[in-house]
Amino acid sequence: MSDTYFEILRPGTNSSIQDKGRNHLYHIGITVSGAMDQRIFILSNALVNNDLNEGTIEFAYQGPLLKLKNGNVNFAITGDVSFNILRKNSIIEEGKCFQNYFLENEDQIDIISTKNSIFGYLSVEGGFEIEKIWDSYSVNTKAKVGPNNGEKFSAGEKIYIKKTKIENFVEKKIDYENSLEKTIRIIKGTNFNYFSENSKNKFFKEEYLVTNLSDRMGMRLEGPKLDNIVNTNIKSEGLVKGVVQVPADGNPIILFSDHGSIGGYPKIAVVITADHDKASQLIPGSKIKFKEISLYEAEGLFKIYSNDTKSYLEQIK
């Protein structure tokens, strides 16, 4: 076992280990979980020469304050994040996202906060020495699933790092553009026609406010109430990331990584895969609009999304 670790001096508001997610277990009630912003999660791994699905520390709003012990590491932070590197000779270096840094024994990383977004990622070369559960590092704190007993990180804990020494540090950088897009593209859901004509029109024409009641499970929105004219409950059935469901109160909820595996609220829409990352980064108070597109268009937009990811990866090859 490795001797190199981060001591958590401050855990941050919601810091947990995440990878791409956990598949093939929906049918026994275990959801996918995984990084909320999949693209910048992948890029954080790429910046430190990792397998693209290596476990990273995902943080939300205020991030952790970490002190490195017994080794040195190559790390990178991705997102729209302000952070400092506190060198042991008390020099404070302002950190930049989307580039890697060499961290020496006893240095600290102080992730102050995300800026115009919610989630950021911290990766280290070689990854963290954490046990995978059902083939994934991802933690679901609501269901208590994953390593660390399904809990987020807490103060005083040690996060062990597999690689104890970096012999050959090469600087890498990605010129990344954070999305400020407030239009979320959707495909009509299986219960779209449960809603009144007036509500269906408003759903596309008017703005919805992202509320504080948003987390890794889902994002609660407020706006024109969606009037269900058929039934406010359906027989419980499977759910997927991106589903926009509408409970009896008429306010839509977008489901994210830690959503329940099944549920009984009508589905008015599903956010297209290409927009999952940007939707998950919308901060409370944002005003968003939904735009309907076809399945064919959504598949095309996913190709563009994948190609964009590829070209970011090519910047550091």
Partner: protein
């Protein structure tokens, strides 16, 4: 058989088997689930990430970077699924203690239904149940159908914490709370058996969709001595 196949967003397929909730339709869902699971395992279908059966729907999630709606629905054109659940279905017996310490709602249920508590217990015991689906919380089985005379609606105010192992009933179903969780079902007893074992990495859920489940009564003493 499948009544309608549509897309649920751009990375999932929504198979609709009807609107009723009964064993016949559900068995159909589970037969498709088992069949597709096998095909995915043998790599005869690429890109499937999850299969989610429920009462009368089956959702197939896939990785959009590997496959798409058209490619997977094409497979359905030649798919021959028979309603055969035998090879995948297990019979499971669950010990259940109906002692008043665990049967949180048995007395109020008895008053509401005007049926003596021992009769409610007998009606619950004298049936083999079919597992329609698992979910809501990890490994929670939805078992049906319970005897018509003991069917009730959800509690008016759901409990914030239902103890782990609790057996609940509501509408035509009985369930098992695999973890402590919020819940609105009427609790009639508790099982000491580990129905969902987090530490079992290969097979954490004891009960799977399509399994047959029956309960047998144990005393409080047997309950307390269960793990010794």
């Amino acid at each position: 058989m499948i009544k309608n196949i549509s897309n649920l967003g751009d990375a999932a397929i929504y198979c609709d088997f009807g609107n009723e909730v009964n064993e016949k339709i559900n068995l159909n869902v589970i037969s498709y689930f088992n069949h597709l699971k096998k095909l995915a395992k043998e790599n005869k279908i690429e890109g499937i990430t999850n299969l989610t059966p429920s009462y009368n729907k089956l959702i197939i999630s896939f990785d959009l970077s590997i496959t798409n709606f058209k490619k997977i629905t094409k497979i359905f054109e030649t798919l021959k699924v028979t309603n055969n659940n035998q090879e995948d279905s297990k019979k499971i017996k669950i010990p259940l203690c109906y002692d008043e310490e665990y049967a949180l709602d048995l007395v109020s249920l008895s008053k509401k239904l005007k049926i003596p508590t021992n009769e409610i217990i007998d009606l619950h015991l004298n049936k083999e149940y079919f597992c329609y689906m698992t979910g809501f919380i990890a490994g929670m089985p939805f078992l049906g159908d319970i005897h018509e005379s003991i069917r009730v609606d959800r509690l008016q105010t759901p409990r914030i914490k239902v103890p782990k192992g609790s057996i609940g009933i509501t509408e035509q179903f009985s369930n098992i709370y695999t973890f402590e969780s919020p819940g609105g079902w009427s609790i009639i007893g508790n099982t000491p058996l580990e129905v969902f074992d987090k530490l079992n990495l290969n097979n954490p859920a004891l009960i799977k969709p399509g399994d047959k489940v029956s309960f047998y009564k144990i005393s409080k003493q047997e309950y307390l001595n269960w793990n010794e």
